[in-house]
């Protein structure tokens, strides 16, 4: 310690120099650059999160007056008395279990095709990406027309191949599949992530496989898929988060009552009803916090298992 001080002070110096501080000019500039993000994180994420947690412990309705404290009553009601809560959770989980894998498969499949050396590759990338930038409300309106039992193109296709038409939006068994089909259509964003992952795979690996006489299928399962797992992991997490938050499609196509036998009443739609139609904001806040915990659990589980199935090139 004394040697360090001596080294800092230097020979023949009457007054010791200051020790270097962590918060020197370089650090301040760095914090300044990320300050906008920090401020937005605080203002749009952390503060609302804490406010939501607080409100979930109250009977807050609407307005600016201070609500009454009810403790865990909202959570108790949610888990012991509200059967619609469980129904909405079931509907959402059903949607998640099917929409996420289908969407990932579609995105990966198209990405694999686009990654080949074909003419007009850029055009195809654009075409397949466009649906993901079309506003969801517009998409929902379009699909409402596609699913129409009399005039919709889907039913006419079914009749063409000799099948009976389906009541897509009025039969309780087909409402969720309809929303799932619609969700798969917007795979563009995942496709772009997969494309980036595919292009990051070293060409040398494929060359070496060619030399060893590997077929296309071998290369796909032994090289491509293992090395694309980081992208799969990312898209899976995002897909799970988005899946649990499904709202606009159901709201536009089916309405806030969830359609026939409430089979299209998803979790966030029910949360919306509690917040803005029943004005039970405290209860809705509790639902929001429960949703956060559910998504967190799923994310932790997927993250924990990732070490067993994700491969990195390095």
């Amino acid at each position: 310690m004394a040697q360090r001080i001596a080294a800092l002070v230097g020979p023949g110096t009457s007054r010791p120099r200051r020790l270097p501080s962590k918060f020197n000019r370089r650090y301040w500039i760095g914090y300044l650059f990320i300050a906008p993000w920090l401020v937005s994180l605080l203002w749009f994420d952390i503060i609302p999160f804490i406010a939501n947690l607080y409100l979930s412990l109250t009977d807050y309705s609407v307005g600016l007056k201070i609500p009454d404290w009810v403790g865990l009553q909202n959570y108790a009601t949610l888990f012991t008395e509200d059967d619609i809560f469980f129904k909405s959770l079931y509907n959402t989980t059903y949607y998640l279990v099917f929409s996420v894998p289908f969407r990932l498969a579609a995105a990966l499949g198209i990405a694999l095709l686009i990654n080949t050396k074909v003419r007009g590759r850029g055009f195809f990338r654009t075409v397949f990406y466009i649906p993901s930038v079309v506003p969801i409300v517009a998409t929902a309106v379009i699909f409402a027309g596609i699913f129409h039992s009399r005039y919709g193109v889907l039913n006419h296709l079914l009749i063409l191949v000799g099948l009976d038409p389906i009541r897509w939006l009025s039969n309780p068994q087909w409402i969720k599949p309809s929303i799932i089909i619609m969700s798969v259509w917007g795979f563009g964003a995942q496709m772009v992530i997969f494309l980036a992952g595919l292009q990051a795979i070293s060409g040398e690996l494929y060359e070496a496989a060619d030399i060893d006489g590997a077929s296309g299928v071998h290369k796909l399962f032994k090289i491509t898929l293992p090395l694309i797992t980081p992208s799969v992991f990312f898209n899976l997490i995002i897909g799970i988060i988005q899946g649990f938050q499904v709202f606009t499609q159901a709201y536009v196509m089916i309405g806030t009552n969830g359609g026939a036998l409430q089979s299209g009443l998803f979790y966030v739609v029910y949360l919306y009803n509690n917040a803005f139609r029943y004005f039970k904001m405290g209860y809705a806040s509790a639902m929001a916090f429960v949703l956060f915990l559910i998504i967190l659990c799923f994310t932790v589980v997927v993250n924990y298992t990732s070490k067993h199935w994700i491969y990195y090139q390095d």
Binding site: G145, H148, P165, R167, S170, L261, A275
Partner: protein, 444 residues
């Protein structure tokens, strides 16, 4: 020098005084948030122009909103620190916001203005805007005229043996129309004789034509699971299954189209009896002018009642849904509150305000004298039938928790339509759940 300074001080003081006077006499802006879209935007702008002739110092901004997320927009607007000056909300939300102390009662303003609202408005209409003894708005449009009538297609009705001199009046007449007119194929219904509806609100509409009631007059006891209620729901389900091929068929028929589009089934001669509210007149006039102008092709009649129940009669219901009012959020400067009420009074009571706005749409006004205008008979060829429908309306008492009760009832009706429960089981269960919510509300 001293004189110059004194003169300067005096001149400055005078200027400041004049400026201060001008500040207090400055224009006030009323932000009017509403959902009068489509062809009604221009109509409302005309009303605002008429208002400005009398009150040039008040600027009214017509903030028309898209229908999507309406409840969220309204709730967040009223609860915000800068709410709109005046906002259009349905009755249930008026009651909720009043209960939470978010909106201004206008009782004192009305007293000061000399208006007697009970004299001016129909009782059912003005009472829909009262909560806990205070008045919060003037109604516009009518809360009535929602379910008390249907529009018919004459050509299609003749297939069932009815005509304009002999219209369907009972449930049993409706069955004849459905049997004769409804045509369906593998893709669903193509021509619809009649649709009884498959929602909770449709059930309540028919309940009152079977001498039933949804709730007691004091709004504390639910009554929809009475024997009349069970009979009504059973009739609705049997009608839908027998004549319309089931609930899915009839819901798909109405999917994807709106009465604000030219391809609405009634405008394309595919519906014999269309149960709708009085806004239909404006839409019909706009989207099928040929039909509107040929009164031999269409008409208006009262909602059919249960001919097998000697105590039943034709009734509409009012106040369960819509029953729009225009509320003033409290959190505003006094001059804005005053200006908002001034515009509200013009909109709700003036002949060049709400009266004109509804007249051009061919729909009735909640103001009695407006409906006595003989020009209405020229504007709407079925004006007498519309008045008769308004007279038949029963105002349903509601509470701020009505949305929850409506959803529970809706889910119960759905379960019966899909064969999950019997009418009695579903209604009893719904009544029990809803009564619990109602009891909790009244216990506060």
């Amino acid at each position: 020098m001293r004189r110059r300074m004194s003169g300067l001080v005096v001149a400055t003081s005078v200027c400041l005084a004049v400026l201060a006077t001008n500040v207090f006499a400055a224009d006030v802006t009323v932000k009017f948030m509403n959902w009068w879209g489509g062809e009604r935007v221009d109509m409302m702008n005309e009303v605002i122009t008429n208002f400005n002739k009398e009150h040039p110092e008040i600027i009214v901004e017509n903030l028309v909103q898209p229908w999507d997320n309406r409840e969220e927009v309204a709730a967040t607007a009223i609860a915000s620190s800068e709410p709109p000056s005046l906002i259009m909300v349905p009755r249930v939300e008026t009651y909720k916001f009043a209960y939470e102390g978010l909106i201004l009662p206008i009782t004192d303003y009305v007293k000061a203005s000399g208006i007697d609202p009970d004299e001016m408005f129909y009782a059912g209409e003005i009472n829909n805007q009262r909560w806990d003894g205070e008045l919060y708005s003037f109604p516009l449009p009518t809360a009535g005229g929602i379910t008390g009538q249907y529009l018919y297609n004459t050509d299609l009705l003749t297939q069932a043996g009815f005509d304009q001199e002999n219209l369907p009046k009972t449930w049993q007449d409706m069955e004849k129309v459905a049997e004769a007119v409804t045509m369906a194929d593998k893709l669903g219904i193509d021509i619809l004789g009649a649709d009884v509806g498959t929602t909770g609100e449709a059930f309540v509409s028919w309940l009152y034509t079977n001498n039933g009631k949804m709730v007691s007059d004091d709004a504390k006891t639910l009554l929809f699971n009475s024997p009349e209620g069970v009979e009504t729901l059973e009739w609705m389900v049997n009608f839908t299954n027998t004549y319309n091929g089931g609930v899915e068929n009839v819901r798909e028929f109405w999917e994807g189209v709106r009465d604000t589009n030219a391809d609405w089934p009634y405008y394309t001669d595919r519906v014999a009896m269309w149960f709708t509210n009085v806004s239909a007149f404006g839409h019909l006039k706009t989207h099928d002018a040929d039909m509107w102008n040929d009164t031999s092709k269409w008409g208006v009649a009262l909602r059919p009642y249960n001919g097998n129940n000697p105590n039943a009669a034709s009734h509409g219901i009012s106040g369960l849904s819509f029953a729009w009012g225009y509320v003033i959020p409290k959190n505003q400067p006094k001059e804005v509150l005053d200006a908002a009420y001034t515009f509200l009074q013009f909109l709700g009571t003036n002949e060049s305000g709400g009266c004109q706005f509804l007249f051009v749409q061919g729909r009735p006004s909640p103001v009695k004298t407006c409906n006595e205008n003989s020009a209405y008979y020229e504007a709407n060829p079925y004006w007498e039938e519309v008045m008769a429908s308004l007279d038949s309306d029963v105002s349903i008492p509601v509470t701020p928790v009505q949305s929850q009760i409506n959803d529970i009832l809706n889910a119960a009706v759905d379960e019966v339509f899909f064969g999950v429960k019997t009418s009695k089981e579903a209604l009893d269960e719904a009544a029990a759940k809803s009564q619990k919510i109602l009891d909790e509300f009244w216990a506060k």
